[in-house]
Symmetry: C2
Subunit: 313 residues, 2 copies
């Protein structure tokens, strides 16, 4: 029921995912939307939309698709939930229905930033907690490291703290306090402060920050990349001669643009809840839905939640 292109693109994405990934998809939604699609369904009578307050929406709309999807994971009728709807409500539904993993202070959104030619840089928190404490950030570092090991096969993930200078004296009070704690945290290979310019490099595997800064950085990066890709395409279609020239370059540039396209990431992972919850962006196309389901499948196959539980407890 969620996302700017729902339900058509969501259902189409589910269809493609079944074919391409061999994953079993259950559609959760209003009967008139999900029935007759050929998918197994869980029906509901309410929808939490983009304008609903997340916590209130979950509390009041107990028979909404988001709440029912989270309950399906809680009850073992689904292995994971995927949503392109109201992000805050998705998090709230997952948190309230699945619950936190024992010992987790706050779940965090982990977003993989694609780095062509290397494993992605995992940014967390990418927006779940606008205000954080240093111990939460330390836990985000631990959870991000588990994700890097289990999902991306990085043996000894390098964990950096997002700041405004490499020196430990740089940053705001939260960063300084977190820096001191991370240096003493066993099991976390802390490489010190990193900067925004390091996100798209292979110099760091996990970048830890509060959800406000993380979300700003992510959207700034997405905006910048979208802008420049648009400008390059504009140049390539500016004349017949340019279009001819573009044909030579596109075989190299298209895979790059593709790799950087948010639709290819397949959505962010909510880490710290007792189940797999994938948050796909609001403008998800069918392709984005396929990739979000791929992430969900991968998270389940690799039992990332089990590994997180063991690491945090």
């Amino acid at each position: 029921m969620g996302g700017d292109k729902a339900p058509a693109e969501i259902i189409e994405g589910a269809r493609q995912a079944v074919e391409q990934l061999g994953v079993d998809v259950v559609l959760v939604g209003l009967p008139e939307v999900v029935e007759g699609t050929g998918f197994p369904t869980i029906t509901c009578s309410e929808v939490i939309d983009m304008h609903d307050d997340p916590a209130q929406g979950v509390r009041r709309k107990k028979d909404s698709s988001l709440v029912r999807a989270a309950e399906a994971v809680r009850d073992g009728r689904a292995s994971a939930m995927v949503s392109a709807g109201n992000t805050g409500a998705t998090m709230a539904a997952a948190l309230l229905r699945m619950g936190r993993l024992p010992g987790v202070a706050r779940p965090a959104i982990a977003t993989p930033i694609p780095v062509p030619g290397a494993t992605p840089t995992i940014l967390l928190d990418a927006g779940a907690n606008a205000e954080c404490t240093a111990p939460w950030l330390v836990q985000f570092a631990q959870m991000g490291a588990v994700l890097a090991v289990e999902r991306y096969g990085i043996t000894k993930p390098r964990v950096g703290l997002l700041s405004i200078g490499e020196e430990e004296t740089k940053g705001n009070p939260l960063v300084k306090e977190t820096h001191a704690l991370l240096r003493e945290t066993p099991g976390v290979h802390f490489i010190g402060n990193v900067e925004g310019r390091d996100l798209l490099t292979d110099d760091v595997d996990v970048v830890v920050t509060d959800g406000f800064t993380g979300n700003v950085a992510l959207k700034t990066l997405e905006g910048g990349l979208k802008f420049i890709v648009g400008k390059v395409l504009e140049a390539m279609t500016s004349s017949d001669e340019a279009k001819e020239a573009a044909k030579v370059l596109l075989p190299t540039l298209v895979p790059l643009a593709d790799e950087l396209d948010p639709d290819s990431h397949g959505g962010a992972m909510l880490l710290g809840v007792d189940g797999v919850c994938i948050i796909s962006h609001g403008s998800s196309s069918a392709r984005a839905v396929v990739n979000a389901l791929r992430v969900a499948q991968d998270m389940v196959d690799k039992d990332v939640v089990g590994h997180l539980r063991a690491a945090v407890a």
Copy 2:
């Protein structure tokens, strides 16, 4: 004395600026570096380097180039100072020697983000104050608006507050408090919250944020653009055929890359001190120095400091 490429590129940039801009340049530095260059000089016996603590550096090294440059502005022997050295020490020297404009709580770094085809988006604070209060942010909004009017000729600058969602309920406590204050601030055309993706658009003229978030956003944007420009260039030189094709596209792409190049911005402006202080980035080339001197000249010609004084008082 400051910057990775000092003194050669700095002196070369000064030379070019004299020719191209007709600006009078005074070099401030150690005698063995600045004497014999043909420029008028102010000599000093000390240098605050990148490893010095900014405030301590300024307090202890009273005969350093940064302190002497700020004193020259204070004493009317120079109309502006430009530095590619230790940013924190540059700010501290300007603040302690020139002083704040009456009524200014904290000076802020205003960085113009180039938007091809439009006036730049002014981001402030881009790093002067890692921790801020809401009233400071309101003053940044006022100062940014004055800069937009006086330097860029924007009649009614649209001021946005950097957050993680357009709704006024989105953001951290600082943003929520600032949002409420900005709505009631006379003389500021507040358009509400904006997001990182709006920085490179013509939807907003002045983006207000704390110095930590602003610096992260700026470096993230710079890193992203640098990355993608590098990848496009790589594609364009990957084969002889690609190089031929590139020749057709470069006339469109080079001006774009040039416009987005930090060296073209010409440095950030420290707003709120009683004098013109331009902060050029550490890796400034001669070209960046020319552009920084161009900004300094423009700030002086348009009496931006005088207009700020009148607006804030």
